[in-house]
């Protein structure tokens, strides 16, 4: 802050402060009104759009060709060999990430958790690590402790993890970033949905809304019964 040199300068400063404040308030009102208008428009578009969740139809994120879910020959967070076939009869959500991932993976976890809250019968969830160097079964166990019931943490050796990721066309690479937090992993951040018959049915890009995914899970459950 500069010191005011004269009364005239003080007057100017008061005027600027007042007018600036009023302008800010006006902007806030306009922004809120616009926001509300956009919300209303977006709500209508969502209900009618191809990805519409409330109609009971499958979203546009369905695979055009339905194939058996690629295997995940890994170990779970208890250190036991994992077999995807054991989850037959349940919808299964799968995503690839790493436990030292502070931004993208927790965002996906948040989306999945809201899906779990939205659906009567919760799907099983597989968090597959693409960072076998740090994510031992013990590290996965510690991480899964912070997640709701229904999560299984999966990891393995380099070869196993690469094979699992390739099956889902997930790419990943270690990136030395110079961060104090250590290296990062670049990775595909899609979410996959496997039906109760063990077939890979949907894949959702990062940031897909939970209502779309929840509707697909509900549709799979309805299909089963």
């Amino acid at each position: 802050m500069q010191h005011a040199a004269s009364d005239a300068a003080v007057d100017r400063r008061w005027a600027v402060l007042g007018l600036g404040g009023a302008a800010l308030a006006l902007v806030a009102i306009v922004v809120l009104a616009a926001w509300a208008a956009v919300d209303r428009t977006a709500g209508t578009a969502d209900a009618d759009g191809p990805a519409g969740g409330s109609s009971g139809e499958a979203s546009s994120y369905a695979y055009p060709t339905v194939v058996p879910a690629p295997p995940l020959d890994l170990v779970d967070h208890s250190g036991r060999p994992f077999d995807l076939a054991d989850l037959r009869g349940h919808p299964v959500l799968v995503f690839f990430g790493y436990t030292h991932c502070p931004d993208v993976c927790p965002a996906t976890v948040g989306t999945v958790n809201r899906v779990l809250g939205d659906v009567g019968e919760a799907p099983r969830v597989l968090f597959v690590s693409i960072d076998p160097e740090r994510d031992t079964p013990e590290a996965m166990a510690e991480y899964v402790r912070f997640l709701p019931d229904g999560y299984v943490g999966l990891t393995g050796n380099d070869v196993q993890v690469r094979a699992a990721a390739d099956g889902y066309r997930v790419s990943y690479a270690k990136v030395e970033t110079g961060s104090e937090a250590g290296y990062a992993m670049a990775h595909t951040a899609e979410l996959y949905l496997i039906d109760p018959e063990g077939r890979l049915r949907f894949h959702y890009p990062f940031g897909t809304g939970e209502e779309i995914i929840a509707a697909d899970v509900a549709a799979l459950l309805a299909e089963r019964s």
Binding site: G20, G21, L24, A28, F146, V175, S179, F206
Partner: protein, 147 residues
């Protein structure tokens, strides 16, 4: 009369400022909507998000941040790579152009809270002090919550 006008102007200004309650501000930089994710064990970095608005006429630059909640705070950027994968890298500084708002939000810019000094549980509040080239230091309180 001028006194009355001044009073009116001041009241208008205060009402406007009141509307921005909860924002940390210094000069023309206003920081709002600060929040942090719950920690996932003490070995893993936490993440915090906030919104920086430059309401002035001059460009500013976020140079860094500190917090009592972590030994080191870094600003990182998550970007989509050519192969569709997402990658995260630290950035040295973040430009906050005049009149613009820069959002640190999931999948984009975020603050990495490295070497947490304690668990971050839902409902906790942590302080984050941002350092700007022009506006200097701005301290905000970030609520710990899920997404």
């Amino acid at each position: 009369m001028a006194r009355l006008a001044r009073l009116a102007i001041l009241i208008l200004g205060l009402v406007a400022l009141g509307g921005l309650a909860g924002c940390g501000g210094s000069g023309s930089i206003a920081v709002s909507d600060a929040w942090a994710r719950p920690s996932m064990g003490m070995d893993r970095a936490g993440a915090a998000y906030l919104v920086i608005a430059n309401e002035g006429d001059e460009d500013d630059v976020l140079l860094g941040a500190t917090s009592p909640a972590a030994a080191t705070v870094e600003v990182h950027e998550t970007t989509m790579e050519g192969d569709g994968s997402m990658a995260m890298r630290p950035i040295e500084s973040l430009a906050i152009p005049a009149g613009e708002t820069v959002r640190l939000e999931p999948g984009g810019y975020h603050m990495m809270l490295i070497e947490l000094t304690g668990e971050l549980a839902v409902g906790d509040e942590i302080e984050i002090t941002l350092s700007f080239e022009r506006a200097g230091e701005v301290t905000v309180s970030a609520e710990v919550r899920e997404g």
